[in-house]
Amino acid sequence: MKSLLAPGHRGCAGCCDAMAAKFTLMGAGEDCIVINPTGCLEVMTTPFPETAWDVPWIHSLFENAAAVGSGIEAALKALGKKGNTKVVVMGGDGATLDIGMRSISGAFERGHDLTYVCIDNEAYMNTGVQRSGATPFSASTTTSPAGKVSFGNDRPKKNMPAIMVAHGAPYVATTSIGYPKDMINKVKKAVDIEGPTYIHAHAPCTTGWGFDTSKTVEVAKMAVQTGLWPLYEVEEGEVTKVRKIGKNVKPVEDYLKMQRRFSHLFKMEGGLEEIAKIQALADKNIEVYGL
């Protein structure tokens, strides 16, 4: 399959965002228009006068990609050019869960025919690894650092897929760049469904999380295998498919150990209790989704 994201962009070695974009385009196909808010993906792919995008692409601002997408969809309709063209937004977790929330909510409530893919690397990577609403419990970031009296981020991840389900989106799915086929197929399915569809892709960032550049996919898989990141599909509000882990379920400790952002948990007094809390989050997912 031809890659619609050209090599030679300026992402870090082992960049998760580049993989996520590539897989999204594989699912969406050539006949699409991409909207990309501010973030790593935008900056690394379009240093003027170069561009890595082989599809029409627009960046506007950090917080308005879904609204820009609404406008594109409306324009295509008004001009009689909608045809089969897919409108696809690719936004980071910051752009999606935090600053862009209002415009996403508006676009989904209005029912625009677009697919929103959140590329979730669990922090604001482009500005230097600050916490976002998607940063997991006890992760150390530059604005939620571990310290003498802190285990890092003291809040669990915001459940964005559930919020999108609550918007009445006909299709909401979680995926991970550790499972390319899963991601490509889900994007393919999403873009073919009429109306606003949402895909939340887990995307481990080598630079921000602190692991070797060759391990992006391995870390991604581990998040799924521990139950911390369940893969499921929700159609018309009902969970229709879940990726089972079964007996291969791994302890969260194995996942946390791979990453610098959790290393304090293994050194600080009380760290083990924090790890136990994270394990409880995974156990809950395993129970709720029947992983």
Partner: protein, 404 residues
């Protein structure tokens, strides 16, 4: 020489200013309208919504967004996808759009937006002044100010033509005084569809988001490139000076109506005192001038239609024989104790051979009436300045001392 304004009385109808704008927008055949309601802009978007509901705007999508931020953001996408785009807002709504305003002009998207000018909060005020638009003066939008409802209607069509010109491609704010023009009923000639089709061709963008010919819009520019983008924006602004004049004349050729190009002058020929202002206050000033002329006071008016681009040369030409210039501003640049028109006018005359006193008054904030006697008093002040020179350069006037 300014052509004579021929208003066809037979065709006149009495409509609300907002309706005039909505109707003008409709006959301009927009493809995407996106707006969020805010007083006193609401009647415009309600009228447009009714036109949509009645199927009167073909090939158009109306996006009922959740905020002004998204209203303008949607037009970023729609305009880049090749649509003729329209919005309307005011005050807090316009301020909420701030970041997107830069974005639209930087991407050279020719969006047209009506501003029903209103004061900004705090304290909250729904009434008219120009602080909202003036606060956005450096965002790279053209800013045109209308005197009455006929002009705001006609300016709407002119704005599309100016903005969409291939040499310009800069967005426009078409400004009308909130309530004073947006809610007033006046007899006007509505824009006709056939004449508008003749005047305003379909928008044909050279660059569009098209899967058959992929392009990237809004890339990031490092220091090797950014300056040139800004330079080109300024070049387009400078070119729009002539374009605004040309389009005013082209409009006259088709419809027979003319309100000036970048500026308009009233009884300035032999004027010692020239009053400068923008918007609906112009009508009041004209009345005062007529009255004072009867008393042999040599006073004239310079109406500024285009605040951005700022018509430096036209203003210099109009002011060259004045003995004193009086600038009325419905806004203030806090910290300078001056209104923006005053500041810009002063700076335009610096480094020229023109050397006359310029005095500024900040009037009409938050909808305070600007009455005939106030303008007469200001003219009296100006007469004093001719005799004795400037004592105060710029000042608030009509203050209620008991509240201070």
């Amino acid at each position: 020489m300014a052509p004579e304004n021929k208003i066809d009385k037979e065709k006149m109808v009495v409509v609300e200013g907002s309706y005039a704008v909505a109707h003008a927008t409709k006959v301009c055949r927009p493809n995407v309208i996106s707006a969020y309601p805010i007083t006193p802009q609401t009647h415009i978007v309600e009228d447009l919504s009714q036109f949509m509901a009645d199927g009167e705007i073909p090939n158009c999508e109306y996006i009922n967004v959740e905020s002004e931020f998204s209203a303008l953001s949607a037009l970023v996408g729609a305009s880049a996808a090749g649509a003729r785009c329209y919005s309307a807002t005011t005050s807090q709504g316009l301020e909420l759009m701030h970041e997107v305003l830069f974005n639209i002009s930087g991407m050279r998207l020719p969006v047209v937006m009506t501003i029903a000018n209103r004061a900004v909060s705090a304290p909250i005020s729904i009434w008219n002044d120009h602080q909202d638009a003036i606060s956005q003066r450096d965002t790279g939008w053209l800013q045109l100010y209308a005197e009455n409802t006929q002009e705001i209607s006609d300016m709407t069509a002119q704005a599309f033509k100016i903005s969409e010109d291939k040499d310009i491609l800069m967005p426009s704010m078409v400004c009308m005084d909130g309530f004073i023009l947006s809610h007033v009923y006046e007899p006007i000639v509505l824009l006709e569809q056939d004449l508008t089709d003749e005047f305003l061709p379909a928008f044909e963008p050279e660059h569009v988001l098209d899967p058959k010919n992929p392009m990237s819009f809004g890339a990031f520019a490092d220091p090797n490139y950014y300056t040139e983008f800004r330079y080109l924006q300024e070049q387009a602004m400078q070119k729009s000076l002539k374009k605004i004049e040309d389009v005013a004349n082209e409009f006259y050729d088709v419809y027979g109506r003319y309100y000036g190009g970048l500026i308009d002058e009233y009884r300035t020929d032999d004027a010692d005192i020239i009053i400068m202002a923008m918007g609906s206050i112009i009508g009041t000033i004209k009345d005062v001038i007529d009255k004072l002329r009867d008393r042999n006071v040599k006073v004239g008016l310079l109406k500024v239609r285009s605040f951005r681009p700022f018509p430096v040369e036209a203003i210099k030409g109009a002011l060259k024989d004045a003995k004193v210039v009086v600038v009325l501003d419905k806004n203030i640049s806090l910290g300078l104790n001056e209104g923006a028109l005053f500041t810009e006018t002063k700076s335009s005359l610096y480094n020229t051979k023109l050397d006359m006193p310029i005095i500024g008054y900040m009037v009409g904030h938050g909808g305070r009436d600007i009455k005939v006697d106030l303008i007469e008093k200001i003219v009296d002040d100006a007469k004093e300045v001719i005799k004795t020179g400037i004592t105060i350069e710029s000042q608030f006037t009509d203050l209620k001392e008991e509240l201070l």
